[in-house]
Amino acid sequence: MSTATKKDSKQNRPARGGQATMVEAIRQGIWEEMERDPAVFVIGEDVGAYGGAFKVTDGLIDEFGASRVIDTPISEAAIVGAACGAALMGMKPVAEFQFIDFISAGFDMLTNYAAKCRYRWGAGIQAVFRGPCGSGVHAGPFHSLNAESFFMNTAGLKIVEPSTAYDAKGLIKAAIRDPDPVLFFEHKKLYRLPRLREELPEEDYIVPIGKASTRREGRDLSIITFGAMTLTALDAAEELEKEGLDVEVIDLRTLAPLDKQAILDSVKKTSKVMVLHEASRTGGIGGEIAALIAEEAFEWLDAPVVRVASIDTPVPYSPPLEEYYLPQTKDVLEAARRLAAY
């Protein structure tokens, strides 16, 4: 029986592989890593008996006990700090932020302690800091954040954000095995999206950190994106195909360190580039990618790099406001048509 049909059942080990949504894929990944390595443990708010706000850690406490699935006070600095300390002892913590918005309360510990330890004295912090990010579910200004830009300018943190169930499992396993701190962002809109349900292999696998994936090959223009926006880009690409435009979609998967080669290869192939992301436009990762392309592939461009991103506001609550805030498929279509015609 696959986990997909068991519907988040407790006290049952999830299937190894089989049909899985993204949330099930992440749970499988953490579960398997906890089985294969006694140093792996989970720490966060309500991750134990309750199984986490989004049930990512559901059932783990029954299998591994409260000593390896640790419920904490509402203390993000303590969660990150304790994860760092335990990592120094050789443990491999998987720390959860209930919503990525609350990462701000652990910002100091992440950017000043976790990120700088190896550089300062050679002690790498092998820890994963994960949680649900992203907007589009009418959760308002404090439960909708895309936090990658806050951390892009801090050397020492890897940043990962998957867009498929297969990648989510492979990347969480790679993150747990990575010798450096990894921020693992999970778009909450994708957790249970039926469209993302897929057959996962039974055998152990990882998806390497630092490698982008070409979701769709194309010759006319490239959309460079990640996370939930990958789906928006694929939807737009399908639409554009009917108009005779052959669109390539690059899913970055890892935001730090960026897979520069994948970006530059796509630019050299299509010569027209759109960067698409969900976070606000100003200071967003799109600027970094555009700058990279300008510096290293300027001669290959046939048009200016276009950024499609959210507007520069907090994430609003009401559906019409949030819809205006977020890049929609129609925004991508419009931008792509202009880019193609340039």
Binding site: F41, S67, R68, I70, T72, P73, S75, E76, A77, A78, I79, V80, G81, A82, A83, C84, G85, A86, A87, L88, M89, G90, M91, P93, D108, M109, N112, Y113, K116, R118, Y119, R120, W121, G122, A123, G124, A155, G156, K158, D178, P179, D180, G210, P257
Partner: protein, 364 residues
């Protein structure tokens, strides 16, 4: 526990009153052997003399950053750290050089760090005691006060999962206790009954800010009640008392009692760092502490008074320390500065992610 605390509190208060006490010494209620007492003296004196040498090097412009003194409060770090067992972990603040030395870090490492040399433990990447040595149970602090409390909570959380009997000792000051990270870390340790000992040094000033502008409680140990853990007050300039209160705390924490807060009443006689002119300190205050309550004077009086060491013996120990310091300064001075390109290495495991070399601009 309560009685012990009251007694300790009285000690603390008698130190703070302005009537010059008659020649303070140290408590004689201890099981320390004479040999241990001499070792304690060695660390106490080593701490002061290493710092004095650092000031000399600073004035010769050989120190790149600032120099932070623990003058007048050395007994707290040395006495408390000396109570740890070899397997225990410690994280100092900048004014706890003594604890670092007790943990077995050699003065040469400290000198090389301050001089930003390649042979320093961080290879010139970080300053002063901002490094660590996991084998020796020494975790260096970062500048953000309070952050090390959650980290040390994690050290003992990890140790517990590994079924290791390890106690962690973290220092904090009357200023650092105002941070959120301190609260979150100690609260979590208390909830989990983790063997974390926090030594809060009441040294009267956080940079220029007096303690009354940091907290509305009279004693830092009063805050222990808010975490449901025992709080003790000790005379931070009585090295034996510092040792004894920590030894009992190690026993309590390691025995499953959980976290402990110890407040050490002491006094910072120098400014925040060497550049600080201490204009905010009332006239006569520093001199009073120097004259009446210097931890080394007190301990020397104790050692002589109890026939543990003669003046000659103490001078011989001091001469031996000076020899070690001379040797270690020479070693540190002989170290080259780091190769500039070393800046690019070690952000990540470089077998996975390449070093962050400076990119070549417009070279095509």
């Amino acid at each position: 526990m309560k009685r012990q605390r009251k007694q300790a509190k009285d000690n603390g208060q008698s130190v703070a009153v302005s009537d010059a006490p008659e020649k303070l010494s140290c408590t004689s209620e201890t099981k320390l052997t004479h040999e241990q007492m001499l070792e304690l003296y060695r660390y106490l004196k080593l701490t002061r003399l290493v710092e004095e040498r650092l000031v000399n090097l600073y004035r010769q412009t050989k120190v790149v950053g600032g120099v932070f003194r623990s003058l007048g409060q050395e007994a707290t770090a040395v006495g408390t750290a000396y109570a740890l067992r070899p397997q225990d972990f410690v994280t100092p603040l900048i004014r706890d050089l003594g604890a670092v030395l007790v943990k077995g870090i050699r003065p040469r490492e400290i000198f090389a760090q301050y001089m930003a040399k390649a042979w320093g433990p961080s290879g010139g990447r970080d300053l002063n005691i901002h490094f660590g040595n996991l084998e020796k149970g020494f975790i260096g602090p970062i500048s953000h006060l309070g952050d090390m409390i959650p980290v040390m909570t994690g050290i003992v959380l990890g140790a517990r999962m590994q079924k290791k009997d390890i106690v962690a000792l973290a220092y904090i000051g009357d200023g650092g206790m105002s941070t959120g990270a301190f609260h979150e870390g100690l609260n979590f340790a208390a909830v989990q009954k983790l063997p974390l000992i926090v030594v809060a040094e009441y040294n009267h000033y956080a940079y220029s800010t007096p303690t009354r502008l940091q907290t509305a409680v009279e004693n830092l140990a009063d805050k222990a009640a808010g975490y449901g853990i025992p709080g003790h007050i000790v005379d931070g300039n009585d090295i034996i008392a510092c040792y004894e209160v920590t030894r009992a705390a190690v026993e309590y924490a390691s025995g499953g009692g959980g976290a402990v807060l110890i407040e050490a009443k002491t006094y910072r006689r120098k400014g925040h760092a060497e550049h600080d002119d201490q204009r905010y300190v009332p006239e006569g205050e520093i001199e009073w502490w120097e004259k009446n309550n210097d931890p080394i004077d007190r301990y020397e009086r104790f050692l002589a008074g109890h026939g543990i060491a003669t003046r000659e013996k103490m001078d011989a120990i001091t001469a031996d320390i000076q020899r070690e310091i001379d040797e270690d300064v020479a070693w540190a001075e002989s170290s080259p500065m780091p190769d500039a390109e070393q800046a690019a290495y070690g952000v990540f495991d470089n077998s996975i992610v390449l070093p962050a070399f400076r990119p070549k601009v417009l070279e095509r």
